[in-house]
């Protein structure tokens, strides 16, 4: 048989397996992240974040929300070429308020994506965007122009969530002595 399967390359197969394991480990160590793998074509991951981020409500007010989803796909040639237009997709909510996430198209711009960038790194980059730890509010280099000037004028609010991605709640029982 020839290389006709989407991921028949053994090096890429190992890479995918590693991403799966590292992603699972990160999600297990975080109460702000869920990571699901979807083996259907094309096989992809869905990252669900429960951190605080911003959305724009119908009355144009900007409010905090805590449910965000993005899709991550590694094409078969990802170790050698990475096209940021193909790898990441914004799943929702559609009223996300961030200069580098589109509110009209499923587009996210996390900045540099080198070939072979691990899943965990992409998840961290997404988390940094959502919590406004990272943003680029230049109108000529953004995906939501309306959000740029708002972002520049509200920088004292950022990051909107200071909790680290990697942490677990500890169930402590405090007994009075």
């Amino acid at each position: 048989m020839i290389d006709n399967g989407a991921h028949a390359d053994p090096i890429f197969e190992r890479f995918l397996q590693r991403q799966h394991e590292e992603g699972k480990a990160l999600a297990a160590a975080s109460d702000l992240l869920e990571l699901d793998a979807y083996p259907v074509a094309p096989p992809h991951f869905v990252a669900t974040f429960h951190c605080k981020g911003l959305v724009r409500l119908p009355d144009a007010s900007i409010e905090e929300a805590n449910f965000f989803q993005a899709g991550i796909w590694f094409p078969p040639d990802y170790l050698r070429r990475a096209d940021p237009f193909e790898i990441l997709r914004w799943f929702g909510p559609p009223n996300i308020w961030h200069p580098n996430i589109s509110d009209t198209l499923p587009l996210i711009c996390v900045g540099r994506v080198s070939p072979g960038t691990p899943l965990v790194d992409l998840v961290y980059q997404l988390f940094d965007l959502l919590t406004y730890a990272k943003f680029n509010p230049r109108e000529n280099d953004c995906l939501n122009q309306a959000c740029c000037s708002w972002t520049r004028n509200n920088q004292r609010r950022f990051p909107v969530d200071r909790r680290p991605l990697k942490r677990r709640p500890i169930n402590l029982e405090v007994r009075p002595s």
Binding site: M1, I2, D3, N4, A6, D9, I11, V40, A41, P42, H44, G71, W73, P75, P76, D77, L79, R80, R81, A82, D83, P84, F85, E86, R89, N100, S102, T104, L105, P106, L107, I108, C109, G111, R112, V113, S114, P115, G116, N136, N140, D141, C142, L143
Partner: protein, 351 residues
């Protein structure tokens, strides 16, 4: 003059080095066929650094250089392909030797891949103007030799040219600090290797070896590469069978019956595309090659969801897609498709 054997060289990139190399190749008596690949036209700024005349300004590089080659040797067969190498059907690059005269790291990797898939030796040239360096390397597929990716690590891959959704068009493009003098030196080195490889003198060619001339200190440095077992490229050479068909008549359903599930390596099919700037939307299955641009505003178009992007065609496609012809979805003569157990080159029917 009757030649004993035909020799065919394909040159990718007709800028600083390519434009210097062309006249040298055209003067090689053993050469019978040249294929020229470059999507650009000559501009005013090229006159100082490239081997062109003022009358070439505004003309496609492949057309101007084809004319030059024929002026030197009217017996040459010249094929001019005004396209980016990644957008050409794989078999269009079939030759006895490929020469890459490109300043894009990504284009260099694409030539490397094409050469290995087709089992063709290829020559890479380059200059580093700031250090007065000119270099040449030859690669020979299929014998456990190194490829151009064998010496690359994650930092090198990070330097590949990329387009970003936020609007920045290209990042990390290789700096073009070429001078005509260095380009001429690199092209002479490349022509010398071409001559050796066409003559079958592999022993003295720079196979798996980077020869660098330091023009500042008059030194020559030779660096030998070995195949890297962890190389990200699989180095596979494909055995390709001809598939004669009418691309205008053969439907996907009938093609799948012959080939089994089918894909085009390095490219994807899309079922829907939407402009990232103005939102213009197109429905319908097609090969996303070249990466599509909006006809209205020129911005990049994308598949709006993962399930609108498919790597291979199979019988699970909706019937309205299965009835489309190969030409309708963007396949061209010379494309190599990967079937269930064989690679097929799409060839036009013989009338």
């Amino acid at each position: 003059m009757q030649r004993e054997k035909s020799s065919h060289i394909a040159v990718v990139g007709l800028g600083a080095i390519g434009s210097q190399l062309l006249p040298l190749l055209a003067r090689m008596p053993e050469l019978t066929h040249l294929t020229l690949v470059d999507p650009q036209s000559f501009a005013e700024a090229n006159v100082h650094g490239q081997n062109i005349f003022r009358c070439d300004i505004g003309e496609l590089k492949v057309a101007a250089m084809a004319r030059r080659a024929l002026a030197i040797n009217p017996d040459l067969e010249v094929t001019a392909l005004p396209a980016a190498v990644e957008n050409l059907p794989l078999a269009a690059m079939r030759a006895d030797l490929l020469v890459a005269c490109v300043d894009s790291r990504l284009a260099r990797l694409i030539v490397n891949e094409i050469a290995f898939r087709l089992g063709i030796p290829w020559i890479d040239t380059g200059v580093l103007g700031v250090a007065h360096l000119a270099r040449v390397t030859a690669y020979f597929p299929g014998e456990n030799g190194p490829c151009a990716e064998c010496s690359m690590d994650a930092r090198d891959y990070a330097l590949l040219e990329t387009e970003y959704p936020c609007g920045a068009q290209v990042a990390s493009e290789a700096p073009s600090d070429t001078t005509a003098v260095l380009a001429s030196l690199a092209s002479s080195l490349a022509a010398n290797e071409c001559q050796k490889l066409l003559a079958g003198d592999r022993q003295h060619a720079a196979v798996g070896c980077q020869v660098t001339v330091d023009a500042r200190s008059h030194r020559m440095i030779s660096t030998t590469f070995r195949r890297n077992p962890d190389c990200r490229f699989d180095h596979a050479q494909w055995e390709i069978a001809p598939l004669r068909c009418s691309l205008q008549r053969l439907t996907i359903a009938r093609a799948l019956a012959s080939t089994g599930p089918m894909r085009v390596a390095g490219h994807r099919f899309v079922l829907q595309s939407v402009c990232t700037k103005c939102g213009l939307r197109f429905d319908g299955l097609r090969l996303d090659r070249p990466k599509s641009r909006c006809p209205k505003c020129g911005a990049r178009m994308i598949a709006p969801a993962f399930d609108a992007m498919i790597d291979r065609l199979d019988t699970s496609l909706p019937p309205e897609y299965l009835d489309r012809t190969l030409a309708q979805i963007g396949l061209r003569a010379g494309d190599v498709v990967c079937g269930a157990d064989q690679y097929y080159e799409l060839l036009p029917e013989v009338s």
